[in-house]
Amino acid sequence: MTDAAFSADRMFVLAVLSMALFTYALRAGGYWIMGRLPITPRVRRGLESLPGAIIVSTVLPIVLQGGLAVGLCLVVAAAVQVRLRKEYVAVFAAAAAAAGLRAAGL
């Protein structure tokens, strides 16, 4: 009965724990290092630039991979946000646009 729903392979558990530990080390590691470095105005500016830089670096490859339809949806989201500053409307509009574009075969 090794395949019962509530069993777990010992090697797999080890793999999961290692992955979780490594990921936690990354989650906490950057924070820890910054506690040991002086936060100069330059470092602060760099950290403040991170959110935008991470969004751009995350979203751009998704657009490059997803093509025109995904790109258009994100333009819709950004445009709605510029006008209304309501994230949930922006997200809903983008999802609706994606559903529509795909139904149209784009």
Binding site: R27, G30, R42, L47, G52, V63, A90, A98
Partner: protein
């Protein structure tokens, strides 16, 4: 500029959690797809719950499942841990950027809370920080709700793989990127952001073309941070 005190309140936690509601469909769809992938790969239910809730890092879980093979050898195990680390390398940076805020909170509170760090609750929290918010319940509450929704969403996907047969048809795959794009809008202040985002975009696109995978997030983020840091007003 007088610095406000860093606080933690239940009200802040609830507000942080509520801010995540628009992306629930995206999280649930992604979690359900992961459950389906895990079931197809032959993971037991318990194994699926473990990897999903303990690792708690969507993209890296998918990549690790690409590498996974049954029976699991030491070589595969090391490869799974390696790709997880590569995909999650950006967390070093996003964790670092929380220091000016959470650094004022005792370590015994922040280090457990950093377990809940994801791009999503980090972006939400920092965009509130930019507006002057200092209640770190925004971060904690959003982290807890995202973890809970993510942990539960895998269950229907595991047992009913075809529940959402094609998330794309409903536009569910654009929910998270669209949310990120929306969060980007209020972050723009002027020339520093323009330059920083261009640097991030160029480096991320180049990395994506040349190397592929998830390295582009890390390299693009670093490029954008350096550009922002070295552009003097």
């Amino acid at each position: 500029m007088p610095e406000k005190n860093v606080t933690l309140s239940l009200k802040g936690c609830v507000r942080g959690a509520m801010m995540c509601v628009p992306v629930f469909p995206g999280i649930i769809a992604l979690g359900a797809v992961f459950g389906t992938v895990a079931a197809q790969k032959g993971l037991t239910f318990l194994e699926t719950l473990m990897i999903n809730s303990l690792v708690f890092a969507g993209a890296s879980q998918f990549v690790a499942m690409e590498v996974y093979d049954d029976p699991l050898t030491w070589g595969t195990l090391v490869a799974m841990v390696g790709v997880t680390g590569a995909v999650n390398m950006r967390m070093l940076l996003i964790g670092a950027s929380l220091r000016p805020w959470l650094g004022k909170v005792p370590a015994y509170k922040t280090y457990p809370a950093l377990y809940l760090l994801t791009d999503l609750n980090w972006l939400l929290a920092l965009s509130e920080y930019g507006k002057g918010e200092r209640d770190w319940g925004i971060y904690l509450g959003s982290g807890l709700i995202v973890w809970s929704v993510w942990s539960l969403s895998v269950i229907p996907g595991y047992f009913a793989g075809s529940l959402i047969s094609d998330p794309k048809a409903f536009g569910l795959d654009v929910v998270l990127p669209a949310f990120f794009a929306a969060l980007l809008v209020p972050l723009w202040k002027g020339r520093r952001q323009t330059v920083s985002w261009l640097a991030a975009g160029v480096v991320a696109a180049l990395t994506w073309y040349l190397v592929g995978g998830y390295w582009s997030i890390f390299t693009g983020a670093l490029a954008g941070a350096f550009a922002g840091a070295y552009l003097d007003d």
